[in-house]
Amino acid sequence: MELLDNLGLGFSVALSFQNLFYCFAGALLGTLIGVLPGLGPIATIAMLLPITFGLPPVSALIMLAGIYYGAQYGGSTTAILINLPGESSSVVTAIDGHQMAKQGKAGTALATAALGSFFAGTVATFLLALFAPPLAELALKFGPPEYFALMVLGLVASVTLASGSVVKALAMIVLGLLLGLSGQDIYTGVPRLTFNVDELADGFDFVALAMGMFGLSEIIRNLEDEHNRTLVAAKVKGLMLSKEDFKAIIGPVVRGTVLGSFLGILPGGGAMLSSFAAYSVEKKISKTPRRFGKGAIEGVAGPESANNAGAQTSFIPMLTLGIPSNPVMALMIGALIIQGITPGPNVVTDKPDLFWGVIASMWVGNFMLVLLNLPLIGLWVRLLTVPYHVMYPAIIAFCCIGVYSVNNNTFDVYTMALFGILGYALVKLDCEPAPLLLGFVIGPMLEEYLRRAMLISRGDPMVFVTRPISAILLLLAAIALVVVLLPSVQKGREEAFKE
């Protein structure tokens, strides 16, 4: 019953008055800042990092974790309400979530996100408590070949994000991959695809790209026909979930949680893949895949659960091995180092109060997030009743400030303008932006892992099939490709016959 003792210790730390306060403060601040368009979890944590320096280490980490979930949830809120994903995981939420909002079901979408996240968070916390060390060992089995195979699978799956033409979706993914390669080649240090612009030495910035492709172009599109635009607010329906809604989301939430919990452990992009892996799965197993992209509640429930579960389990490599699995965890490690704690395998034994306190606080944090956000939903939905011509200048301003403040770089603001134009043109041509963004995130990793695998195997391509995990993943990718392409091949034939 060591586990119970440990959890007991954890909860005694997490439920102390002081830590409850910091947990709540973190979740609240995170939500409030994360909900501003353009400010995702990384930007939010980086901004708020200094205020935790004065706190004791446990409280600091608890507060940062709170900020992290809060910001992530806040990001989903903006994705649903105004179609502005501030980070890669909420790109997927925006697809169906915003459609729901347009149909007057913003409250339902937000409640689904909150409850799905809470369920996923609870499960992931217990997974963490029970299996953190063995899960971390499992993650270490993932070498470059396995990651490459995983990225290929992710790439194939991202085709399902589009509801229109498959060929166009593929072209958008490839465009994203190419844009993602811009910047310094990490193997040789050579700058490439930089168009001789010095500021592109590190490539395009994700936030700038997303704000342009989604934010700016969406606003321009909304201004096309203002007089005939039916107000979203006019048809806001109930805020809570109906019995049918509950039935519809149980499956997606559970599947999303499982996917997210597993993928979250994997450093370098695992957590990012989880939300759209969940989306692909839901769309594939749905009896009515055509509803996806047009406001399917499953398309919100699955990815939101997955991304929260992934956020939780991404703490595993950080807490057990001292290895950051994503930029957010790197910031957390920085916070620990500033507190005088060296993150590493010894934290569990040397600082059990910290380790278990943080784990227990994850559950507490998730609980607070629900408490905080269910009442706030009413407020967010009411925001939609603000006339659009009053609201969009504010969104533009927040996007500019958010994009600028990520790197204090004016070039990123120009990038946003450029992608606003490109995004608008592509939307007018029925090319959907979501696959492009995922290609953009995956592109550099795909190449990096492929080249690294070849380097380590000394140029032997057999490494991808002789290693079991990578072989299985590649097989899955091949199957997925067939499944994805099959309907479009058939459809093409049908259309050909029609003529």
């Binding site: 240090g189 030495a201 590190d202 091995l321 965890m329 180092i337 993150p343 990096e448 380590i456």
Partner: protein, 336 residues
């Protein structure tokens, strides 16, 4: 309906709208206050790397203490990108009044050799003092055969390109240490670059790559937790927090010494008395027992007293630029 709501809103906000006018007034007033003794307003220290990294940590510890000494807020601002050259370039172009400073590590000395199109020169800065030399450690995957550092050297010589060496990207600390190690042992290893220390450490602990050399800041946790094999430190003397590790110098690699040293810089043309005042405040920070104990947690210590003057820093910087030029040129890697 909208018009009515708007009119109501206007009435409410007409009062609030006065606020920016007041702000503008205050900002204008403070702009004319340059003549006062330094510092009369907050100082910005630019760290050319992301928040939360080792250099950022050093900067924040020092800034906290300097804030107390100077009586003005010393703010750390992270301007990451292009291996630290973006932030450095920004400071090089800043007004030389002591209110915009740069806190950079060894990269300040290696950038001129790594970047052929560097938009600034090392001489565009006034040196304001060295801060801390962070030691590096040579570590290997768990289960790596050699037992001692001497064995490692024989092993890499015998197996040459079969041994893989991981680094955190062009120009990173681990990249520099690796280049020097390969030059010293005369063995070109297969270099596997990563985006940062995190993923590289992950593959080392997972046994995907063989060797790595990185700052104690990044490796102490894994060494003490027994997740990696540690062989040696790269400093001249042993490192107090890792007493079991011999130095590379004592293990047959003559003159092998790398530390990730950190320094404070002001733009060229900053008045000498301002630089002196900053150097003095930096010295107070380095004598602060709290800073020293935090440095010890990171596996490092404040710069020795006789190495703290701006003059020493200037000479040291020149020497380091000269030391790394041939090593980088021999390796034939460039970052642009």
């Amino acid at each position: 309906m909208f018009a009515k709501a708007t009119r109501a809103a206007c009435a409410v906000f007409r009062g609030i709208a006065a606020v920016p006018v007041v702000v503008v007034g205050i900002a204008l007033a403070s702009a004319g206050a340059h003549a006062q003794t330094f510092p009369s307003r907050p100082i910005t220290v630019i760290v050319p790397f992301a928040a939360g990294g080792p250099t950022d940590t050093v900067a924040r510890l020092v800034a906290e203490s300097m804030t107390k000494t100077l009586g003005q807020q010393v703010i750390v601002e992270n301007v990451g990108g292009a291996g630290g050259t973006r932030g450095a370039g920004q400071v090089a172009k800043a007004t030389p009044d002591g209110y915009t400073l740069l806190l950079h590590h060894i990269g300040q000395a290696t950038a001129p050799s790594l970047y052929r199109k560097l938009p600034y020169k090392v001489t565009d800065f006034e040196t304001a003092g060295l801060i801390t030399p962070v030691p590096m450690t040579l570590i290997a995957k768990p289960g790596f055969e050699p037992k001692t550092i001497a064995d490692v050297i024989t092993y890499v010589k015998a197996n040459k390109e079969k041994v893989t060496y991981g680094n955190a990207g062009v120009g990173s600390a681990s990249h520099l240490c690796g280049m020097l190690f390969m030059a010293a042992t005369g063995t070109p290893l297969t270099t596997v670059p990563y985006q940062g220390t995190g993923p590289a450490m992950n593959d080392l602990v997972g046994g995907q790559i063989d060797l790595m050399c990185d700052q104690t800041t990044n490796t102490t946790g894994q060494i003490k937790g027994g997740k990696v094999k540690a062989y040696a430190v790269t400093t001249k003397d042993k490192v107090p927090s890792l007493p079991d590790l011999p130095t590379l110098q004592a293990s047959g690699l003559k003159d092998f010494e790398v530390t990730i040293w950190h320094g404070l810089y002001a733009p060229k043309g900053t008045p000498a008395d301002v630089v002196a005042k900053l150097n003095q405040a930096l010295g107070v920070a380095l004598d602060d027992p709290k800073v020293a104990s935090r440095f010890a947690d990171l596996g490092t210590e404040p710069e020795a007293k006789n190495r703290r003057s701006p003059e020493f820093h200037k000479q040291f910087l020149t020497d380091e630029v000269a030391k790394w030029k041939p090593v980088i040129e021999a390796a034939g890697v460039y970052a642009d």
